[in-house]
Amino acid sequence: MAAQTTTVASQESSHPISVWILPVLAAWIVPGGGHFLQKKTGRGILLLASIGLMFLFGMFMRGMMFSPEKGDILTTLINYGGFVCDVASGVFYFAATMFGYAAPDMPGDVHDYGTKFLVTAGLLNILAMVDSYEIAVGKKD
């Protein structure tokens, strides 16, 4: 039993990086890009539309972009976690920061929803990256 588990684990970790790195990077930079690269156009369009619209709505609601700031443990965790999630949106994050989008942290439910939309767009893109990885290594069609 233990030997079987070891064999399965070693088989799963034996996928060479060259097989999956390009789709995963493409999926990070352009949401749905990994799927486009893997000729899953329909799914790619849906991912791009959903993640892109979520990010845009977050900006239209003037959601805050996190920056990596230190403080007490909770502040550090929230800021670094939020920053990673924002960056995970790929081209949307880079374009927004390049064009000077920097909404301050304001009180109000709409701004708060906006911040959550921006963070969730990144989290959803991480799911899309994982899906691209699984398609690349043959775990999924």
Partner: protein, 61 residues
């Protein structure tokens, strides 16, 4: 850049819609399963949205 003011319901509805689409696509293996799971997730979001809203209303009296 336009600024929009969505209500709680509108924001939660859009959140549920986009999240359900991505979760449906990324978690299942066939198109039929993806569609069904996306609809299931969206339904769960809406049930939670209305359920929690009513709970808060009843709780506040």
């Amino acid at each position: 850049m336009p600024k929009i003011n969505l209500s709680h319901f509108e924001a939660a509805f859009l959140f549920a819609l986009f999240t359900s689409v991505v979760m449906g696509i990324t978690t299942k293996k066939t198109d039929a399963e993806r569609k069904n799971y996306g609809i299931y997730c969206f339904g769960c979001f809406l049930v939670a949205l209305f359920g929690i809203a009513w709970l808060m209303r009843i709780g506040h009296g």
